[in-house]
C-alpha cells in the first residue's frame, strides 16, 4: 500500500474506532466515584489476614500470586530470547560473546572509577532496601530488582565494559536468575503438597509493620528480587556489550 492510501485508511478507521470506544467508555462510572466490591473487600481484610500494610503487595504476591508467577516467567523467557538473539553459536552450544574493551575505556581517572564504584554499591544497597520493605512501603521485589540491576550501568560508566565484565560474571547472573524464577514455582509446588493449595500462604505471618512479615509473601518477594535483579543486570550487560561490537565494526 502506498503511504497516502495507508494513512487515509488508518485515519478513517481510527475515527470509527474512536466513536465506538467513546460510546463504550461512556458506560463506565464517572472518574473517582465508584469502588468495586473486590477492592473494598481486599482493603478491609488484607492487613488482618496477611499482616501486610501494603495491600497492593498482598494482592500481587498472595491473592493474585499466580499472575505474578506468570509475569516473572515472561521476564525470564524474554531474557532467554534476548540471549538467543545476541548469542553466537559455536560448537553447537549457545555461548556468550567474548568480552572486549568498550568505546570510552581509555581516559578514565582513578577518581571517576572510585566514585562510580561507590555509586554502584549505593544503588545496589538501595535496591535491596526497597525489596526488603515490600510489606510496608510501595516497594517490592520487582522494583528493588530493577534498581539493583542498574548498578551495572554505574560500573560501566565508571570503569568501562571490560572491567564490568570481569566483575559481573554472566554465567553467575543467569544461574541466579533461573534459580530465582524456579524458586517461585517451587514454593508453589511445595505449598500445594504441604499445605493443600498451590501458593497457599502457610509460613508464620510475623507482625504487621515489621520487615519480615507476610509469610510466603516475603519468601516469594526474595525470589523475585533475585530473579529480576540478576535478569536486568544480565540484560544490561548484553546490551552494553553490543556497543563494543558496534565500535569494533566501525573501526
Amino acid at each position: 500500500m502506498n503511504d497516502r492510501a495507508r494513512t487515509v485508511l488508518f485515519l478513517v478507521s481510527a475515527a470509527a474506532v474512536a466513536a465506538v470506544l467513546i460510546e463504550g467508555i461512556a458506560g463506565l462510572s464517572p472518574f473517582g466515584t465508584h469502588q468495586t466490591a473486590y477492592a473494598a473487600m481486599l482493603l478491609r481484610v488484607a492487613v488482618l489476614e496477611r499482616h501486610v500494610l501494603n495491600v497492593a503487595t498482598a494482592v500481587n504476591f498472595d491473592y493474585r500470586g499466580f499472575d505474578t508467577l506468570g509475569e516473572e516467567f515472561i521476564l525470564f523467557t524474554s531474557i532467554a530470547g534476548v540471549l538467543i538473539i545476541f548469542s553466537e553459536l559455536r560448537g553447537g552450544k549457545t555461548l556468550y560473546p567474548e568480552p572486549m574493551d568498550g568505546p570510552a575505556d581509555r581516559g578514565r581517572t582513578a577518581a571517576i572509577r572510585a566514585f562510580a564504584t561507590g555509586l554502584a554499591a549505593f544503588v545496589a544497597a538501595m535496591g535491596m532496601n526497597v525489596a526488603l520493605h515490600t510489606s510496608i512501603t510501595p516497594g517490592g521485589g520487582f522494583q528493588g530488582g530493577a534498581i539493583f540491576g542498574s548498578a551495572v550501568v554505574c560500573i560501566y560508566l565508571g570503569a568501562g565494559y571490560a572491567a564490568l565484565d570481569r566483575t559481573a560474571k554472566k554465567s553467575l547472573l543467569d544461574t541466579l536468575e533461573a534459580l530465582g524464577a524456579a524458586a517461585f514455582a517451587l514454593i508453589g509446588v511445595a505449598t500445594a503438597f504441604l499445605s493443600g493449595a498451590f501458593l497457599k500462604n502457610s509460613l508464620p505471618l510475623g507482625a504487621a509493620g515489621s520487615i519480615p512479615s507476610g509469610g510466603t509473601i516475603f519468601a516469594i518477594n526474595a525470589a523475585v528480587f533475585v530473579e529480576v535483579g540478576c535478569g536486568f543486570a544480565l540484560l544490561l550487560l548484553l546490551y552494553l556489550h553490543q556497543t563494543c561490537k558496534t565500535e569494533e565494526e566501525q573501526r
Binding site: Y63, V189, F198
Partner: protein, 601 residues
Amino acid sequence: MTYGFVHHLAPLAVAVPLICAAALMPLSRHLPRAAADAIATAAALAVTAMCAALTIASTHAPIVYWMGGWVPRHALAVGIGFVVDPIGGGLATLAALLVSSALVFSWRYFDSVGTLFHTLMLAFLAAMCGFALTGDLFNLFVWFELMGVAAYALTAQKIEEPEAIAGAINFAITNSAGAFCVLLGIGLLYGRTGALNPAQIGTVLAQRPADALVIVALLLITCGFFVKGAVMPFHFWLDDAHAVAPTPVCVLFSGVMVQLGLYAVARIYWTCFSPALGTHAAAVQALFIGVGIVTALAGASLAYSQSHLKRLLAFSTVSHSGMFVCAIALFNAAGAAAAALFIAAHGLIKSSLFMCAGIVLNRFKSMDEGALHGRGRSLPVTRAVYFAGALGLAGLPPLGISAAKVLFDASFERQAMLWIAAVVALASAIDAGAVLRFGLRVFAGIGVRAPGGPLPQTQPTETRSRNALSEKLTMLAPAIALPAISIWLALSGTFVHGVERAARLFTDQPAYAAATLAHRVQPWPGTAGEALDPSAYAINLAVCAGALLFALAGAFGFRLPGPLRAPFMAIRRLHSGIYVDYIAYMMFGIGAYGVWLILAR
C-alpha cells in the same frame, strides 16, 4: 477445601514445564545436546500425561482449583481459579502432545541448536496449558503474553537470517497490539462488574440488558484474540511468521496456538457475555458468520496461489480458522462440538503436514514448488504421509477431519443454514486442492513445472550420509503417529460422544457459574449421544473429489480468468510483509466490526 492429587495436577501442568525451563537455562552450557533433548521431551510427555488425566477426570465433574486456597466468599471471587472442563483440558493435552512431537522431531532436524530452544519450548508449553486451563480473565492475559514472548523468540531462532528477525518483528508488533486490545476490554469489564472471574462477570452482566460498554468490551476482546486466531483482517502476520520460523515451531503455531485464540473467544463469550446479550446476539452471530466465511474462502484461495509450502500451509490454517469461527458462531452445543473436534483433528493433521515440509526442507533446502518439481519422489515414506495428510484435510475418512466435518455439516443442517456448510466445503476443497497440487508436482512429478528458481546446491556431508536413516525415523515417527491418533479419535464413538457432551457443558453458563462460585461442583449429567450418520460421509468424499480436481487443474497450469485475476492479485498484494500495513488493516477491522456491532444492536 481439600484437593486430591488429580486436582493438584492443574497448577502442576503449568509449574512443571516452567521449572524445567528455568533449570535448563544455566545448564545449557554444560549439558550435551542429547541430555537437554531428553529432559525437555520427558517434561513435555509428563505434561501430556498430566493434562490427559485432568481431562479424563473432568468428564465427571469440573475440576475447580483456587490458587493460594482463596475460595470465593459470598459469590465474590477472591483469588485466581483454574476451571478445567473437558474442552479446556483437551486443548491443553493437544498442546502438550504437539510440543512433545515437535521436540522429538527436532532431535535430528536441527544440526545444532542452543539449548535455549528447549527453554523456550517448555515456557511456550506452560503458557499454552495455563491459557487453556485458567478460569480468570487477567490470568488468561498473562499466559497469552507468555505464549507471545516465547513465540516471538522462537520465530527469531535463525538469527543469521535477517528475514527471520523481520518476520518475528511483524509477529511481535501485531500480536502485542492485539493483546493490548484484550486488556482494554478486560479493563472495561472490570470497571462495570468489579470482577476478573468470568463466572462472576457473567452473573453481574446478566442483571441488566447489554449496553454499549458490554458490546465494546466484547468487540475489543474478540478483535484482540482474533489477531492470535488469524481471522481476517487480523491474520496478516501468520504467513510471515510461518515462512521464517523453524519447522517444529510452525507445527505448534498452526497446530494449536492459533486455535487457542479462538477458544478464548468462545469461552469468554459463553461465560461472560451470553447471558447478557439477549437480542444483540444476532448481530454478533451475523458478524462471526460473515467474517468466518470470508476468511475461509479468501484463506483457501490465497493458499492456492502460494508456491512456498510453508506459506501455503499457513494460509490453509487461516482458512480453517474461518471455518472454526463459523462453527463457533452457531452459539449452540452442536456448533461447539463440531469446532472442538475439528480443531483437534486439524491440529494433528496440519502438524504432520508441516513435519513433511520440514523433512523436504531439511533434504533439499528449498520450499519452492518450481524448484522442487519431482524431487520428492526420493522420499517415499514422506510422500505417503503427505498425501494422507492432504486428503485428510479434505475430509477423507477415516482420518479425523472426516468425523469433524460430519458433525459440522449436521450442526448447520439443524439450524437450516446448510448454505454455510456448502461454502465451507468449497473452501475445504480449494484448500486441500492447494496442498494436493503441491504434492502432485513435487512428490509425483505430475503436471507442468511451476516457475521457480533452481534448487540450492547442497553439499553432501559425512554426517548426513551416516545418519540419513535415523534422521528420517525420528522425524517421520511423529509425522505418522499424529494422523494415526486422529484416525483413532474419529473412529472412537466414545471420544466423539465425549466431545458432544463436553460441548454441552461448555455452553452451559449457569452450571459453570455454580461450580466456580457456589462450590456446587455437581457431576455433569450424562446424556446419550447420537451415532454419526454414515451416509453423511458421502459429502466428505465429494469434497475430496473436488480437491483432487482443483489439484490437477492447478498442476496443469490452470489460471484464474481475467476479470477475477486483478482483484485477487490486489488482495494478495495487501500482504506486503511490513507491520505498518498490518496495523492499519487491524484498525480497519476493529472499526468495521465495531460500527456493525454498535449500529446493528
